[in-house]
């Protein structure tokens, strides 16, 4: 059974001040999660230092798109061939135009797939969450293993100026 403590902070400074004491109590970075209604610079509260390898998705998507383009405007011309009075079966300029478009479509779809993959979407299950973040509040979520830790976290958060601290438990 894992317990999640969510502290709601009004100001970013308060949320940030809770991180250091938590780390001192041997809470690791993986145990803490920051939930916000808008983007904050990395390291403002928690430092992830995570260089998302999104380019892999974009490159794979682009290559797939390029293959679709070559297949459509090149290969199928031989497959569904039609003699047009001595003109070449597959013409290069159209191939270029079609490949440009399909490659970029592949990159865009790849990036979208990357968003879903790395951000863990879609996921409609009830993960620990507090709707207060939509009102501009900052939520700091800490995963604890037992009662003692829970109390400790609650204390640290209140001391750092949390407006509200809630506890959720989930079977696992």
């Amino acid at each position: 059974m894992s317990r999640h403590v969510i502290g709601i902070f009004e100001k970013i400074e308060n949320a940030a001040s809770a991180v250091r004491p938590l780390e001192r109590e041997s809470f690791k970075k993986e145990d803490m999660e920051l939930l916000t209604g808008c983007q904050y610079p990395d390291g403002a509260v928690i430092e992830e230092d995570w260089d998302v390898p999104l380019w892999k998705f974009a490159v794979v998507g682009g290559l797939l798109g390029l293959m679709v383009g070559v297949f459509l405007a090149g290969a199928t011309q031989w497959w569904m061939n039609l003699d047009v009075g001595g003109k070449p079966m597959a013409a290069l300029p159209p191939l270029g135009v079609i490949c440009y478009e399909t490659t970029l479509l592949g990159v865009i779809l790849g990036s979208l797939a990357g968003l879903f993959w790395f951000a863990g979407l879609p996921d409609w299950t009830d993960l620990p969450y507090d709707a207060e973040i939509s009102r501009g509040k900052i939520a700091l979520l800490v995963t604890c293993s037992d009662e003692r830790q829970t109390e400790l976290v609650r204390k640290i958060m209140v001391e750092s100026g949390a407006q509200k601290v809630t506890l959720t438990e989930e079977e696992s």
Partner: protein
Amino acid sequence: MSSREDIPADERLPAVETVRGQALDAGIQAGKESDFSISEDRLNDISLRPMFYTTKTYYVLTIILALIVAWGAACWGYQIVMGMGVTDLRHPVFWGLYISAFVFWVGVSHSGTMVSSILRLSKANWRRPILRGAEAMTVFSLLVAGLFPVIHVGRLWRIYYMFPLPNQRELWVNFRSPLAWDMAAIFVYLTSAFIFLFVGLLPDIALARDYCPAKNWRKGYLKFLALGWRGSHRQWIVYEKVSLYLAIFILMIAPSVHTIVSWDFAMSITPNWHTSIFGPYFVVGAIYSGIAGVITLMVTLRWIFNLDEIIRVTHLTNLSKVLLLMSIMWGYFYFTEFITSWYGNNPTETAIWRWQTDRFGPMLFTMLGINIFSIAALAFDSVRKSPGKLFVIGILVNVAMFIERYLIVVPVLTHRDNPFTWTDYIPSFVESSIAVAAMAWFLLLYALFVKILPIVTVSDIREGNALSCDMAFGNRHIRVHGDAEE
């Protein structure tokens, strides 16, 4: 929709008047510049109010738009049953108002994604409130644009011959045709513009999901569309990177799309169409009319939904500066195109120019007049700071740009190589009805969008507010915007 009384008192949204009152109390007056940053709750209330509160005027306008669309649909049905003869098209004027409208709407779609991605990439701080409106404009104007080739074809029931669908008849698409490129480009652009819009919407859908009262009918689909977005720090890191990628690559797609649209003309041997300048000329014209469209829409949104605090005069002023730049660039391209064919003095082209100034003189001079006027007017600070004047200029510019597209398509066809075929063309009632209905269809789609998804980029504005503060600077206060990257 559930009425206000069904919602428990604590879940009720503040009434419009209350929010207005608070805004006025805080010293903000409509249209007046202020460095006051609004509170988080009020930001939500104001931004999501267009979604949750519907006035009587809105219903009336929507019903009128729907009726116009229905009339257009009826005209289209009539055209399908009777044949293309119900238009005024004739030999050899095979393209007319529909294709002009197609080029126009693809053009309008351009500034949405282009402006949005350029501003995102350059991290212009004033971009925040206008992103969503511009991106949504792209998607809806493309939907309208994509309709016109479908309306235009002679045998609608065989239009699937244009798609590369495997079949047993050994028929395939001719990828040599610019129309096939066009179809590919529009498909790619529509898909990516839709993704761009959706990814931009994601955090705001999550916000609307949290904001939405439990019994509201929107709760269900908002929950679904939010895809379980929690706003965790890791999600935001991914989100930032994906937004960057999308902005870069959509910036590569958008100009290619209008270039390909221009190639529908430039790749032919038709005099005056067969020019290499058409690609960039169309792109510039597209952004020009698109920016005018964005300005018009922004002012409309401000008026209808009281978004004065969100879309402020600064944003309109900045957009109008871009509009000024684009209008000058468009003028330069138009001049270049004209002077090269004038000096070339190719007999066919000269005949077409003469015909254009003669038969289409009033249209040509209206178009040029409006564009020159808008350049002159936008040079004045007082115009750039007045939403009303900008609204008028936005409408005028789009009228002018519609005429410009019409003058590209029609005079050439009525008056080309073979003098025996010279003729005239005036759009018929059916054609004009469909073109007007397309405008109504665009506005209707936009109006419905405002009701189902947040029209204001709330999380982006929130980020801007979080990263900025008021600073005492001598005797006055100034607003400073931070950037974590620097």
